[in-house]
Assembly symmetry: C2
Homo-oligomer: 320 residues x 2
Amino acid sequence: MVDRLHEATQELPFRKRMLELMLGAQDSICAALQAIEDERQSGRHFQTDLWEHPEAGGGRTRVLSGGACFEKGGVNVSAVRGSFPPDFAAKLPGSGTEFFATGVSLVLHPLNPHVPTVHANFRYIEQGDARWFGGGADLTPYYFQAEDKEHFHSVWRELCERHADVADHARFRDWCDRYFYLPHRGERRGVGGIFFDYLQVSDAEPDKLEHTAAFVQEGTGSFLDAYLPIVKRRLDTAYTAEQKQWQEYRRGRYVEFNLLYDRGTLFGLKTGGRVESILMSLPPTVRWRYASGDSEPPPGSAEHELLEQLRRPPPPEDTV
Amino acid sequence: MVDRLHEATQELPFRKRMLELMLGAQDSICAALQAIEDERQSGRHFQTDLWEHPEAGGGRTRVLSGGACFEKGGVNVSAVRGSFPPDFAAKLPGSGTEFFATGVSLVLHPLNPHVPTVHANFRYIEQGDARWFGGGADLTPYYFQAEDKEHFHSVWRELCERHADVADHARFRDWCDRYFYLPHRGERRGVGGIFFDYLQVSDAEPDKLEHTAAFVQEGTGSFLDAYLPIVKRRLDTAYTAEQKQWQEYRRGRYVEFNLLYDRGTLFGLKTGGRVESILMSLPPTVRWRYASGDSEPPPGSAEHELLEQLRRPPPPEDTV
């Protein structure tokens, strides 16, 4: 089934192990999400598509649409070997343009506006002699709930604390808040989580390689711990048509972020990635309305409370 | 009412004249669109917002939402004096970074999927000693109608033919097809129209300045001739919920184009333009669905016919 992805590894053991990690994470995450749909007897299932990258490798995309819990959810694994465009390669830690990359990436858009949207991504990249890990997870609620934010953050904080030799929670948390920011709106995309990139390891540091891989592996497992309790807590909250419209309106910000700023999306689209797998992150239904001053949610409303959470400047640049 | 816009002209007569041209175009276009809503007794009206640019000048934005004909429509005039970012300025015909710009820009998203979306824009820019005009209009149907395309193109062709000393229809038509193209989708945004930029005139050519201004002025008037007959022909066509969904799905491409590629949108957002006036171009309701091979519209369907029109490579680069 996934021979094409394995091809990209050229049978190198560490590459193979990382690919298996990503495929295993996709399996366990999709199984847990599917179980929620099955419990609700929605009759909707993840659909799997295998695709080939024009250079070498490809991906396994799984998407579920029209579910009782997930209006649209996608979990994608890819393993690709190829050449970065030279100007892009020059900005990366390694030398040359040849690369190998494998990762798992997911975005879930719940039907119920009381259940937050979530994104997570974990990736392993080799370029020349350099190798590094990147990833993260962030939560985008439509109605702010302090306990959901606290729970989500606590899982990632505890993960980082267990891997403190390679993971700095405060730094990764702030990095997330800076990355998922819409400068033209002066808004954060959501209530944060963690984000990290260029976690570099050299062949001279075999211990660090193992420690970083262990952090990322456990991170893929932490995703369900971070998100599922929130889903279960909010899934049966009743909602009005106005609340659904608010969710669809706020989903517009998700589209704006992904198409204007998200490095992964822009890089994928401009280098011939599979468009439907990249844009599976876009919400199923979205609204844009023209907003002048008098269309602001009134102070004291739940909608206003969310905006107060999001309209905070990002943390200052990392000085490390 | 529009003192702030006039301020940006520094009372220079040609700047004032161009601003008046844009304001007049906005007035006449909005009046004609409003008349359609009034005929249908929708009770919806264009709402006017005046806004200030942080440097000098500002804009007059008019938006109508929830109409019987126009689900969302915006017509914006701006007049701004300021400094371009240096790397942006270096790519433009003039010298230095100081500029004056005024223009009218509109996007109309009809409720009925049988009525095409339309965009038009006309602008006048000064940078150092250089001055130039740009603009265009393009039609984005959800169901292809050869006679609508032919009519729309014929108005712009005849306009160019009347101003053949400054306007080359074949070149402007091809420029439009190249500009409104989504490379990641391999699709044109719509069925074309005209697009032109950097129509330069120097002070040594007073006749050319007048001729180009006359072309642009008549162009703002041609918009209603190009679009209204199509609206009137299609507005009463009955449509199904599936056809509405197809329109909302295709509107996703409009969002993708505007946020990924449109120079005006990206420039405005990144240089502190008024966000709601820039993003008034985004459709009111939009859908993204995950499309794998088996979700293609079947050959022979009207949806498939549209895709056949759009999935054509853009014309080769202009060699003039």
